[in-house]
Symmetry: C2
Subunit: 192 residues, 2 copies
Amino acid sequence: MNQISPRNSPEASPARRRLLDTATRLFYELGIHAAGIDRIIAEAGVAKATFYKHFPSKDELVVAYIEEQDRLGREAVATLPKQPPRESIAAIMGRISEAVVAGGWRGCPFLNAAAEYPDPTSPVRRAIDARRVWYHNSLRKLLAEDGDPAPSVTASLLVALSDGLLESAYLDDPEKIPALVQEGVDRLLERR
Amino acid sequence: MNQISPRNSPEASPARRRLLDTATRLFYELGIHAAGIDRIIAEAGVAKATFYKHFPSKDELVVAYIEEQDRLGREAVATLPKQPPRESIAAIMGRISEAVVAGGWRGCPFLNAAAEYPDPTSPVRRAIDARRVWYHNSLRKLLAEDGDPAPSVTASLLVALSDGLLESAYLDDPEKIPALVQEGVDRLLERR
DNA sequence: ATATAGAGACAGACCTGTCTGTGTAGGAGA
DNA sequence: TCTCCTACACAGACAGGTCTGTCTCTATAT
């Protein structure tokens, strides 16, 4: 038996792919606790034994969900065109508007998950932490390049503004978000 | 039987008071779905029948929890000293720092609840909406008094900053919040 | 005497996770 | 080409626990 045959690669399994896609949709739409395993496997068309072969527990599925959302976000940022730092920041923040005007926005997946996982040492919370550290650092580096005298402070404010506007898009009026993103970034960035 | 006797007032029942206090603590610490009725009544020392006499369902208890948190916030703002609008805004935003440095902060109760209630027509979401409308309007009026040329936009940005900093206090470093509140308000308010 | 509330059994549904059994597709060897 | 073998996945029963909500019975206090 070939232990490193392609079939052992996680991505090579269609069942695993269907499970993660279905879980992503249901976790986001219903909330994590409200989306049961029985429903996930039924809508994915996967047997329960197959599910527990790919994921040791529901929490591991949640971690995979969080990590994949994180990875997709990082890839989207990585493929942004090379441009001056201030334009890069505007482009990163502009992704908020894109995510939100598409419709079906139900809040930031990471904040929603954090609301359901109080234990900061849980694997789910660690995955969320990793995402937040990456996001803050990405902005901080661009701000430093831009000559911001306190790039870490400004980055924290931009992170807070991002989180707040993503929640506002869920709970208030999504159509106002694009203008608020632009205005908020303008006001938070140091004028020169 | 006197239908409007004092004993019919909701606040007159110690059992109801214990239920709401215990539910408030458990909903906030564990999350709403994760806090079961059995545990709430056990820790409150209340019989199940008594619980269902005071609250027709768990969701009604959740609504009472949200509405009470909302009421407490409004009372705290109402008792702030009369002062110029910009100082009032600073005082309202300063409540974020107070809430957070006390320790045990687990995120904004309203945002956490919204994460668990996807249906925007549910009573819980309506209670959250009412809170957000009040908060936005309070800031907008003060900004208009202050002569802000676009008080609604600025108010939306301050609401977003509030939400984002409350989440940051939960997921990042709470000790940095007071400085970020001050700095964020400074940058968002129109300079004159 | 009546209102209030404690204790707890119970129903029916749903939760996660384990288990057995069946079907199928593809590669290896004759 | 035919057959065997192995990996994979589907179907679903089952266990043990928890969920909300209803019920009966008992105790207390005014």
